[in-house]
Subunit: 319 residues, 2 copies
């Protein structure tokens, strides 16, 4: 294990396709906000670097990335740099390493570039993948950020109990569909909502949610929730914000829990929706808690290991 | 201790001044929504009753009572009965008892009528007062519902730590001023807001809050909070709702806690204010939790004892 392993040809330059973030975005992102560019990269670290040079294998596209497209980012993530490749979670193979933590040939998970090869100087986010007996693409989903978000949000924030009524919004999304699976494994009754009949079909027939509905076909979200939850909702996994959270608050049960994971309906708006039913939080003794999985990872690294062990073991048929 | 103690004169009828709730109210209550009436009452229980007959000594007027003036009440409390006396927490002396739990001469705390004497058939809410070495009026305040609300809300919901930044709205109110005291006893930095300069003076000069401000004199609540909390707010004890919670959300620190106790600014509105900054709950990993002290009492009677012991010992100079 050498910090300065040598590539076959020190001066080898290869083409490197990159997805470039053109400039800050307001409103809905358009395809023209990004451009595909081919540059070149030398497949060897500069002498003395303690970074890593990786070949990217899988990238995940996650909702939080929208914040990075806004000038200034938000309080959790910084903005992307216009003219540079996008950055996100991904799976990559180490081609050259100056880090004590990783060696050539390791497969790692963490922040990398939206490009074929990345030279990563800040390696703090990278962890060496422990289980390689599953498809590595799983680390862009259930064993990656989406899985960690769903696992931490559901198990650490929602305090689920067998038999409870669980509602998941954006249920066909990367996180939502996994929350549904975790909830079903807990013995909960699980209903999801999504924005198309195709997604609802997926939820009911492939992901085996107990029920699912298309919110675009409901004139009255409150009435829809009353139909699916005649006894009310114990746990709401919030991914959308806006009118949905208002309708959910009316249908929560006493001592209900709401994990605030995202508010995708609000990310492209200049003026956010005003939520009117917060007083339900008082009258029903609801706990509403937000979380940011990045920060949970930083503050509590056992979450990562526990999630990886648990999810790998229970959902991927591993040991 | 007899279940059927005998009053001096079985047929004695006395005048009983009562505050009658005339009819359901929408909008702000007016003085004409209530009427003072004098009826008569026999100071002895009907034979076989397991209720109690009490002389009311102190009554507390609490914000939640507004819900009881609305047709249908809310999910926690039922509506008052038009034409009947108001009902609320109070301190009373037992004149005659058919209950195994209380005897003649006991001083009790719990739900009673807004009248001189009450015949209480449902005695579940009544508890015999343990400490009588303090003014009994304290049981309409710090040792009553207000004290229990402040204690449970601050200590059970807010998880306070020494040195944290605490903001209390409606800080000159019955609950708010006590939250401020509990927070200062914990070694927190405490700022309160209120709606008049007289109240602000009380907060700063008598109740010794570190700072206080009059929200009616602030054009921009966000700017006011930034002035008083340049490092942000760790704990917000919410009594008001509306624009204040929106401004507070912008100023909360990471892992902040919000105890949702009340939303007095909203109780007389037909259309509640729409809260726009809920996404801060996600980005700052905030826990926002509602509570209803009635239900905490029912579900967790030790809270009552613990609060009474603790508050009496620490704040009232008792043992």
């Amino acid at each position: 294990m050498g910090s300065y392993s040598i590539a076959s040809n020190d001066n080898e330059q290869v083409n490197n396709k990159q997805i470039i973030f053109c400039d800050y975005i307001s409103g809905f992102p358009k395809e023209t906000d990004f451009v595909l560019k081919t540059s070149t990269i030398r497949l060897k670290l500069p002498r003395g670097s303690n970074g890593v040079l990786v070949k990217n294998l899988y990238l995940s596209c996650d909702a939080y990335m929208r914040f990075r497209m806004t000038k200034g980012g938000n309080s959790v993530v910084s903005a992307f740099k216009p003219g540079s490749p996008m950055v996100g979670y991904g799976v990559a193979r180490v081609l050259d390493s100056g880090s004590q933590e990783m060696k050539k040939g390791d497969v790692v998970w963490g922040f990398t570039g939206w490009e074929e090869y990345s030279f990563i100087t800040d390696t703090k986010s990278l962890v060496t993948i422990k289980y390689t007996d599953v498809p590595l693409s799983y680390y862009a989903g259930i064993l990656g950020k989406a899985g960690m978000t769903a696992y931490a949000g559901f198990h650490e924030i929602c305090s689920p109990k067998k038999g409870e009524y669980v509602f998941v919004s954006a249920a066909a999304g990367a996180v939502g569909q996994l929350v549904g699976q975790f909830a079903m494994l807990m013995g909960c009754y699980v209903v999801g909502c999504a924005g198309s009949n195709e997604k609802v079909h997926l939820l009911k027939n492939k992901l085996m949610f107990h029920e699912a509905f298309n919110y675009n076909e409901e004139h009255n979200l409150d009435a829809a929730l009353k139909r699916y939850f005649p006894k009310g909702i114990d746990i709401y996994f919030e991914n959308v914000g806006g009118e949905m959270i208002d309708a959910v608050l009316l249908n929560m049960r006493r001592n209900g829990r709401i994990a605030m994971c995202g508010a995708i309906s609000q990310y492209n708006l200049d003026q956010p929706y005003g939520v009117k039913n917060l007083s339900c939080i008082i009258s029903k003794s609801i706990r509403m808690e937000g979380f940011v999985v990045f920060i949970m990872i930083i503050n509590c690294s056992p979450i990562h290991t526990r999630r990886e062990d648990c999810v790998h073991g229970r959902c991927c048929g591993g040991t």
